[in-house]
Symmetry: C2
Subunit: 325 residues, 2 copies
């Protein structure tokens, strides 16, 4: 989630003795009675916005359609990714669904196999849920509960001038299919948190440019992205060659596409260099993580990029946003 629920109303959300992290982060860290702390985050997916099912008259192949199994996996994965953004240890999920009355039972069974696969993969408890029938398309909301790691949770508002910006993998083009095969960086986050000092973190769900801008704004700092260092996923190259899409360059896809669910970290320079030079496999077995330094945090509030020819350009915080009329 964004803890900034109804984000344009954020200033109305009260500061509260139970909230350890200010509103607006990826998950809430709750202080409960007896000094207990719990991390909680919620995400909701809707048919047509977050996934589409194949139709009988399906002549589209982009974006690829999803199976209910994939939707179940994705719904759990995106909430776990919010826990990863805090380096919280995933413990449990609850799942609420609105299922179409017609065909809802079969749909639910396939959904369930995906949910079960994902919770098993992360040793998470499926603690329950709420099952509803209605005369509408599939809606699924997953709330994930995590525990606080020994050194405390990461947050997005702690980036300091001089920190280096690190992403945990190549970006862009997720709509070619990776948006249905989300790999939350839970294990990587916990391992990184145990070994390196991290000043700020979030998961790149809406696009590097907009999410990086959010981290910098929350931290009251600026940042410069070295554009030639942004790791571009091969899907971003493929997507830039698809004729009926919006003709962005691979770099633009890497900067603006959502649903990569890699982590963006602000790290003191020495630790940042250590992280990118260390063997990822020594941190987490069989990880696909490929950390790369992509820029640095600066004084002031400017969000800029440096081009390969040495120019500095202003960056727009582009990415996915829910828009209302």
């Amino acid at each position: 989630m964004e803890t900034q629920f109804l984000n344009w109303l954020l200033p109305q959300i009260k500061k509260d003795h139970r909230l350890e992290v200010p509103p607006g982060d990826d998950a809430a860290v709750l202080r409960l009675p007896g000094g207990k702390r719990t991390v909680v985050t919620t995400d909701l997916l809707t048919e047509s916005v977050d996934f589409r099912f194949p139709t009988s008259s399906d002549d589209k192949d982009f974006p690829p359609s999803a199976s209910a199994h994939q939707v179940g996996r994705k719904a759990v994965a995106v909430s776990l990714s919010d826990l990863a953004a805090m380096a919280a240890c995933p413990e449990a999920v609850v799942v609420s669904v609105a299922l179409p009355q017609r065909g809802g039972k079969k749909l639910a069974e396939d959904l369930f196999t995906g949910i079960q696969e994902e919770v098993d993969a992360f040793d998470v408890t499926l603690a329950g849920g709420d099952t509803n029938a209605w005369d509408g398309p599939l809606v699924i909301s997953v709330t994930a509960i995590g525990s606080v790691p020994p050194r405390g949770c990461w947050r997005r508002d702690g980036a300091r001038p001089g920190d280096l910006l690190v992403v945990t993998g190549p970006l862009g083009g997720s709509l070619l299919g990776r948006h249905l095969d989300v790999m939350p960086r839970c294990r990587e986050a916990i391992a990184i948190a145990s070994r390196y000092p991290i000043h700020a973190a979030l998961d790149i769900s809406d696009g590097l440019a907009i999410d990086c801008s959010r981290m910098l704004t929350a931290s009251h700092v600026g940042g410069i992205i070295e554009l030639a260092s942004v790791p571009i996923h091969s899907d971003a190259i493929s997507l830039s060659e698809v004729p009926d899409t919006n003709q962005l360059t691979p770099l633009e896809h890497a900067m603006q596409d959502g649903e990569d669910f890699e982590l963006l970290l602000a790290i003191p320079p020495q630790a940042a260099h250590a992280l990118v030079e260390d063997d990822p496999g020594s941190l987490v077995q069989q990880t696909t993580m490929q950390p790369r330094i992509i820029g640095k945090v600066t004084e002031g509030f400017a969000f800029a990029g440096t081009t390969p020819d040495g120019q500095t350009i202003r960056l727009e915080p582009k990415g996915f946003e829910h828009v209302f009329e």
Copy 2:
């Protein structure tokens, strides 16, 4: 919620070291690292099933249409009621919404005032959420987090033969408007839990008959309801007189109507008599609670009622259920 998410798949949901209460209760009691325990429950409401908004061509007055403010209140209240069913202390909620793109912003603002009113009334933290736009009607899912009371959480599977069955208020006819003005019995539950031994509890969300049957089944016992003792709400009488509804008697409405959100408790006889004889106002200031003994728990598995003329009849577990084609 029912923790029995996708309830026909319940046998597939694994018993788990993190679940203190078996699947199928109103909320999950999670054992987290370091001996911490957290209570969690989720509920999802959809337009047309759980509420309806007024339309420009509105010639219906039944059931009454809802304002977005009422929907916000209700969405929080029904999740808090699940915490009340466990005697858990409400701490925080997270809210995810799918809002129609057209008019969604105004809708969200009104929704928010209702959410805020309800969380303030119960001193609960609005910890965050997820805000989505889509080309569909309003869907709202609230997950509530609670803490465990000193004597532990109530559960629904502990009713024992000889226990008396108690409801905390009159039932039936909620569709006349109380379904949009839900009063979760959180304070009452916590106060009752601190003073009386309770063997089993749930909140009556789908109807007394079906919910009582669920408690008895979970507890592997039977029960007899003394039908003349079931407290009938004046709305149940009014609703039985509405010509275009399904012509149930007031008692049938009290037995089958959902969304009363009173508690059903199984209590040892002496404590049950004490609870109904004590002044509710001495337990909770300004409570509207009116506890009444309505029957008793029996050996075996029969679910029966006694009529005023002394006959014993078999009771059907009627009430609201989500149905799929």
